[in-house]
């Protein structure tokens, strides 16, 4: 017990303690940033804590199926963004990105109007983590699994 601690071991312990403290600090900072560092609000955030009308915010969520409509002028789009907890109606005037579809994710940049409608001046399509070939897109998950099994 009274043997002098080897310099090598002392260094190891020192470096590991420093590393643990550093990573802990970084994690804490990232955790503290969790609301500020988010790229967009989801509809539940808007419902719980509406931003003042006219402030530039981003709204992200799923485009509800059956909600997508184009006005008579051909360039104004109306749809509803939902996250399963709340829904926010959105209007957008301009060209929509290719991946923008009902039932898929979207991030709208714009302002919340006084009537609760979100006026977007830019739309970003959000891709999900699923990668499916075109031929399999129309199938249900069960059919797709069978097809994949057969090709193995």
């Amino acid at each position: 017990m009274n043997q002098p601690i080897k310099a090598k071991h002392q260094r190891l312990v020192l470096v590991l303690v420093a590393l643990a403290a550093l990573i802990g600090a970084a994690m804490l900072a990232a955790w503290g940033l969790r609301s500020q560092a988010s790229y967009f609000y989801v509809p539940a955030d808007i419902a719980a804590n509406p931003p003042e009308a006219g402030r530039a915010v981003r709204l992200g969520g799923m485009v509800e199926a059956g909600s997508l409509k184009t006005d008579a002028d051909g360039v104004t789009t109306r749809f509803v963004v939902g996250d399963g907890k709340a829904r926010v109606p959105v209007t957008f005037k301009g060209i929509r990105p290719d991946l923008f579809k009902e039932g898929s994710g979207v991030v709208a940049e714009g302002k919340l109007g006084a009537d609760g409608t979100f006026v977007a001046d830019n739309l970003l399509a959000k891709h999900d983590e699923k990668y499916v070939p075109r031929e399999m897109a129309g199938m249900t998950a069960e059919q797709a699994r069978k097809t994949v099994e057969e090709t193995r």
Partner: protein, 225 residues
């Protein structure tokens, strides 16, 4: 160089498969093919810094002479792949998202990784020029920078981000097997290439140091006479 050869063959085959053989994706169409370069590049960009951190730990604790050289050898290819990941991601983002760049958690932390690499390269270069014992400061920087790696990984889980969450995690995949196998093969191929380049660079750095030591010795002998 069997490592280099294996890397070249596997990378070539998997890219041919991914770029020509794999089907188009249901929503992304042909732009899904960028995946086969983007994901290996991201993996090596992050894996490279993890290796730098491991080498830095070895350098600081055990003072192994090869550790500092290994870390220096990794930094340049690591920076290359981090940049490649950002460039291919940007090219994919334009058609898929409708924008080249956004400041969301994943993209920003990956850009920070590239800047860390550039800083490491500059620091290691300066420390090397200062002479012996100078590899300790880059090693400390290599460990400090490792804090960014978990942030990159968890950025899409902690924060709402435009970048999608991981498609592949332990034991399950949201990716159809047509894409998955080509992607895993490409990742293996690029990793072998990365390893081969790192070994070659380590050899070059060692040869450099030996040549310099010999020159110095000769200069000493000449001044003695």
């Amino acid at each position: 160089m069997p490592l280099l050869l294996a890397g070249l063959v596997i990378t070539g085959l998997s890219l041919a498969w991914g770029l020509v053989g794999a089907p188009a994706e249901r929503l992304q169409g042909d732009s899904v093919r960028i995946l086969f370069v983007h994901v290996p590049a991201a993996w090596l960009g992050m894996g490279g810094w993890t290796a730098i951190a491991a080498a830095s730990l070895t350098e600081l604790v055990w003072r192994h002479p090869l550790a500092g050289i290994g870390a220096r050898a990794i930094a340049l290819p690591g920076a290359f792949f981090a940049a490649l990941c950002l460039i291919t991601g940007s090219l994919w983002g334009r058609p898929a998202w409708g924008t080249w760049w956004v400041w969301d958690g994943r993209l920003t932390s990956m850009l920070v990784l590239l800047f860390l690499y550039l800083a490491y390269l500059a620091l290691a270069d300066a420390a090397n020029r200062d002479g012996d014992g100078g590899s300790r400061i880059p090693a400390i920087f290599g460990l400090v920078g490792a804090a960014n790696i978990p942030i990159i990984h968890y950025s899409v889980l902690w924060w709402n981000s435009l970048h999608q969450p991981p498609s592949i995690s332990m034991g399950k995949s949201e990716m159809a097997p047509e894409f998955l196998w080509a992607l895993l093969a490409a990742t293996l191929g690029f990793s072998l290439l990365f390893g081969a380049v790192v070994l070659m660079r380590m050899r070059a750095i060692l040869a450099d140091q030996q040549a310099e030591a010999r020159l110095r010795r000769r200069a000493m002998e000449a001044s003695d006479v």
